[in-house]
Symmetry: C2
Subunit: 165 residues, 2 copies
DNA sequence: CGCTAATATTTGCATTTGCAAATAACCTGC
DNA sequence: GCAGGTTATTTGCAAATGCAAATATTAGCG
């Protein structure tokens, strides 16, 4: 498993890595979040592939399962998927009868997306896997630690929310 | 900023969200990591766009700056970029003279990638932005909290490492 | 040594992606 | 009740992506 431990001091005895620009990647938060996220994502994607659901599809199912019927833009916010990408993803899910698309009552510009019966079944079959997976990711964490991690991730997210959109 | 607060109890007075599958997205770790990661990524991408460097390119620069010259597969591990995608990404970076590509001495199958002079300058110009950005993400965190977050993200990553590859 | 299995990288190919422009439906002030 | 500006979604289009197959090279074994 790769070395890359602390390093990145101001140089010292050991030869600096040739092109010595010097950057402490291993301690860089965006790096740590990204690699954990990618790991989580690719591994879970493999887990649900046999169910013929992609990761992005699962994200849509999960968001609809959690928050109920909603508009496309709400779903985009909840899934972190670009709205144009999501529009087409939902197309495919509608075609496969996982999601029902209707026009919003109040505002006819907006779309109203909901789980179909089949989509609900798919969600219910994946949710236990998701929970199991989360427990795996949090192996060795006690409840307080797990909650602390969640809270800190929310804070990071909100800190970034305060930036120029 | 969307509502979506705690909710997801076992139901109670308020009407369950129509298609009541029931899933606590807001407390689901993979969701929290993904949305923080996506936020971090898209916002930083915008930040460096004026420098004519994409996020993936920055990841390559950062990995080379941190760990020095290395092989393509090492870089893939460090950046969490798929190796075939990375192969082509590096192509472009070589074409733009950000990265130098040579064949490894010991093993002529392997490639040896290093920052070019220009790539080093690009890295050095972005690193301060990256640090500034990390500080923004961690606004309100004291040093111990920030380090606790990093440590927990490493643990999550390692927990997943133990899974079937 | 010669041959088969493993490793490192590249390439073929079909999808997915995301920005920007187009479209559609509201909403506001007059 | 309508011009002009916003908001919600879709679509055009040029990349970027990732899986699987091809290539190139090394390693191991008899």
């Amino acid at each position: 498993m790769s070395a890359a431990s602390g390093s990145a001091r101001k140089r010292r005895g050991a030869a600096p890595p040739d092109t010595g620009v010097g950057f402490d990647l291993a301690g860089f938060l965006p790096y740590l979040i990204n690699r954990a996220g990618v790991r989580l994502a690719t591994a879970f994607a493999r887990e649900i592939a046999p169910l013929d659901v992609t990761l992005q599809e699962w994200r849509v199912l999960a968001a609809l399962a959690a928050d109920g019927p909603q508009r496309l833009s709400d779903l985009a916010g909840l899934t972190s998927i670009d709205i144009s990408t999501l529009s087409r993803l939902v197309d495919r899910m509608v075609a496969r009868d996982l999601v029902a698309r209707g026009r919003s009552d109040g505002d006819r510009r907006a779309v109203r997306l909901a789980l179909s019966a089949k989509g609900g079944r798919a969600a219910r079959s994946i949710i236990p896997l998701a929970h199991h997976y989360e427990r795996t990711a949090l192996a060795g964490f006690d409840a307080a630690e797990a909650e602390a991690l969640r809270a800190m991730l929310r804070r990071v997210y909100m800190n970034l929310d305060a930036l120029p959109r």
